[in-house]
């Protein structure tokens, strides 16, 4: 019981621990407000070397250079949008982890809605078909009755009309 409690406490402590940061103390700006803006911008910019990390998370050399560049632009008085535009002008929209809606990204943004719509259509078709299958079969026509009777009488011949 005591060991379980110890484990739970350890797990809880691990939850509280901060993630390892790629941002080194020397890179940080003295002004906490400016530094917070730099962190927020960096978290939205893709590291082009690793491609699935933001520059805020990445230890790559280029990510570090870009972090410093973001801070440099902010110190020079750029707005957040200006800083992002500065990086996009050099590396393209791919550098944004949250890509803008454009003709070239329409499929990216619209894809989930399209798949959802396709799913709805599929479900509708499936339900209609099931209802059609589940309904009472139509009663036999007079002709079918005659053929059935002939088969039941068992003379083997098939009295097709």
């Amino acid at each position: 019981m005591k060991r379980v409690a110890a484990r739970l406490v350890t797990m809880f402590m691990l939850l509280l621990s901060a993630p390892a940061l790629a941002v080194e103390p020397g890179e940080m700006l003295a002004d906490p407000a400016l530094e917070a803006r730099a962190r927020a911008i960096s978290a939205e910019l893709r590291c082009l070397v690793c491609q699935n990390q933001s520059i805020d998370d990445s230890n790559a050399d280029l990510a570090r250079d870009l972090r410093l560049l973001v801070r440099e632009r902010l110190k020079e008085g750029d707005s957040d949008q200006q800083v992002v535009a500065f990086v996009v002008a050099r590396y393209g929209d791919f550098v944004l982890l949250d890509p803008p809606f454009k003709a070239t990204t329409a499929l990216l943004w619209g894809g989930p809605a399209l798949v959802f719509a396709a799913g709805l259509v599929g479900i509708a078709v499936w339900f209609r078909r099931r209802r059609a299958e589940g309904s009472e079969p139509a009663p036999l026509s007079a002709d079918e009755e005659r053929r059935l009777q002939a088969l039941l009488d068992g003379d083997g011949s098939n009295p097709r009309p």
């Binding site: 590396y91 393209g92 599929g122």
Partner: protein, 183 residues
């Protein structure tokens, strides 16, 4: 009875299609054998960024954007510490012998190491700028080394190649483009 139901085919087809896409991306190869990790340059058809770099420590005149107009040229971002740069170097030497002007941006390199590299393998560059901080490379949108840009007469970037130039790249992309631009 043997008719396969669409309710069965549909999910299996979607699964196979996704597995194929993920599989292809896992091996980093896109349609046509192009590396998917390779990105299009944001600077295609744009003028080269405005820059001026000093030479590699007391060696030549350096490199500035003004030198990149009036001729069709290649701009190669390289470093002595970058193994693929060594790999593509013989091709640059060949192009230089054929008369293609090649300009070098020496990225975050130690001057002595850069000079030793050129002394050993030859110097294909008409001029070299030393980018000690890597800031000019960022202006060019460089993210991998080496990178090679084709610049036209008006000083616009027409093509960007990431990674070492292979004979195949030279034959199918770079040389046809150089011919088209009228070099």
């Amino acid at each position: 009875m043997t008719r396969v139901r669409p309710a069965f085919v549909f999910p299996v087809a979607i699964f196979l299609a996704l597995a194929a896409v993920f599989g292809i991306y896992l091996y980093q190869v896109g349609i046509g054998g192009k590396t998917v990790a390779e990105l299009p340059s944001a600077l295609i058809d744009r003028p080269v960024p405005d820059f001026s770099l000093p030479p590699i420590e007391g060696d030549g005149v350096g490199l500035a954007s003004t030198q990149l107009t009036g001729q069709v040229s290649l701009v190669n971002v390289w470093a002595s510490w970058c193994p693929p740069c060594r790999q593509e170097h013989p091709l640059l030497m060949r192009l230089a012998r054929e008369g293609v002007p090649i300009y070098g941006i020496n990225y975050k390199d130690k001057p002595d190491a850069a000079k030793a590299f050129l002394a050993e393998l030859g110097n294909p560059f008409a001029a070299i700028g030393a980018d000690r901080t890597g800031r000019v490379a960022i202006d060019w949108g460089v993210y991998g080394y080496p990178e090679t840009f084709v610049v036209d007469r008006t000083g616009r970037i027409r093509y960007r190649h990431v990674g070492p130039i292979m004979p195949h790249d030279l034959k199918t992309r770079i040389q046809p483009l150089l011919r088209e631009l009228g070099r």
